[in-house]
């Protein structure tokens, strides 16, 4: 297992979480969200399965996370029992799939054949690359005190990659602690309507 933190403030933001987890696996810091761009990860937690030969056997998808969180009571931050059960079941199903792959390797029914992997990877477009470039420049400008110019590039990244939640939540987080989970976040989630925040897992 390799965990990658898409945290632009790097170790400063990631350290408390990593230390609390006391991990036995590498926990890497990805300030520029490079892995996200390389693997098409548009949110967290997203995961990719890579076999011993370095081939992707499941491309980026939500790692057991579902939209059950949208039924959270926003005042108490608690999930109603049915949503909590749904969230637990989805997480369990995903982890069971991972364990199946660990045990069975290429014979696991959750391993996708190369053709299906490539089909899921197809559709990566020029806008995603340009969005990543604007984010990259925005981060540099923000780090050098040019906040308002940085914001222009962050907004452009968001415009080019509207379904990529990293560009919105990371930037909110840089602006103010807690903003990534605040009223703007919930408004953006509500604006989805029936569209998913986490695409349903297709195991």
């Amino acid at each position: 297992m390799i965990a990658v933190a898409f945290d632009t403030r790097g170790a400063e933001d990631a350290r408390p979480w990593i230390e609390a987890a006391r991990p036995t696996y590498p926990c890497l810091i990805d300030r520029l969200h490079t892995v996200a761009t390389l693997y098409g990860m548009v949110n967290v937690p997203n995961a990719v399965w890579i076999d011993e030969a370095g081939r992707i056997v499941r491309p980026a998808e939500p790692a057991g996370a579902t939209d059950a969180f949208r039924r959270m009571d926003r005042a108490t931050l608690r999930l109603p029992p049915d949503a909590a059960a749904e969230a637990r079941a989805a997480r369990q199903a995903y982890l069971d799939a991972v364990r199946d792959w660990v045990r069975q390797g290429p014979r696991s029914r959750y391993v996708l054949p190369p053709k299906r992997v490539r089909a899921r990877l197809a559709g990566e477009d020029a806008d995603a690359t340009l969005a990543a470039l604007h984010f990259r420049l925005g981060v540099w400008l923000w780090e050098h005190g040019q906040d308002s110019e940085a914001q222009g590039h962050f907004r452009e990244a968001q415009r080019l990659s509207p379904r990529d939640w990293r560009y919105r939540r990371q930037v909110w987080h840089l602006e103010e602690p807690g903003k990534a989970g605040g009223p703007e976040f919930w408004a953006a989630v509500d604006a989805l309507g029936d569209r998913p925040y986490y695409p349903p897992l297709d195991l």
Binding site: W17, P26, D30, Y39, M41, V48, I50, R118, R136, R166
Partner: protein
């Protein structure tokens, strides 16, 4: 001072100039900024060389200076810059792949852990990798 972000690399160049929206820098800086070199065969990086079409040669190199913007256009590398022209970001890889050429090979990367030690994905070749993202936000 001009900062060029090329892929994940960051370089400061004191002698860069912007002419009609294009970034020019001393030809001697091309390799350290981009990892590409101008050779008789064309623009080369590792084992790859991209010939420079004769009608575009003057657009890219003139008087010991390289037009990095024209270089990027030749290699289909997207680029963005700040309004002052003091900071530029170039993608190190072309934006669009040939349809049907998508690869299921896991791209390599190099990132530090909390101790600053750099890990590459390729360090772990030979074992299954469950690569999972998270964030403090």
């Amino acid at each position: 001072m001009t900062t060029v972000l090329f892929g994940e690399a960051e370089t400061s160049i004191p002698d860069a100039v912007v002419i009609r929206g294009d970034l020019w820098l001393p030809a001697a800086d091309l390799a350290r900024v981009t990892g590409w070199e101008l050779k008789p065969e064309g623009l080369c990086r590792d084992d790859t060389c991209v010939p420079v079409p004769p009608d575009r040669a003057g657009e890219i190199v003139r008087n010991d200076r390289v037009n990095l913007s024209a270089f990027a256009r030749l290699l289909s590398l997207p680029a963005v810059c700040s309004t002052t022209g003091d900071a530029w970001a170039f993608s190190a890889e072309p934006a669009l792949q040939e349809p049907g050429s998508e690869s299921d090979r896991a791209p390599d990367f190099a990132l530090p852990d909390l101790d600053g030690r750099v890990h590459r994905l390729s360090d772990y070749r030979g074992t299954k990798i469950f690569l999972v993202s998270w964030a403090s936000w």
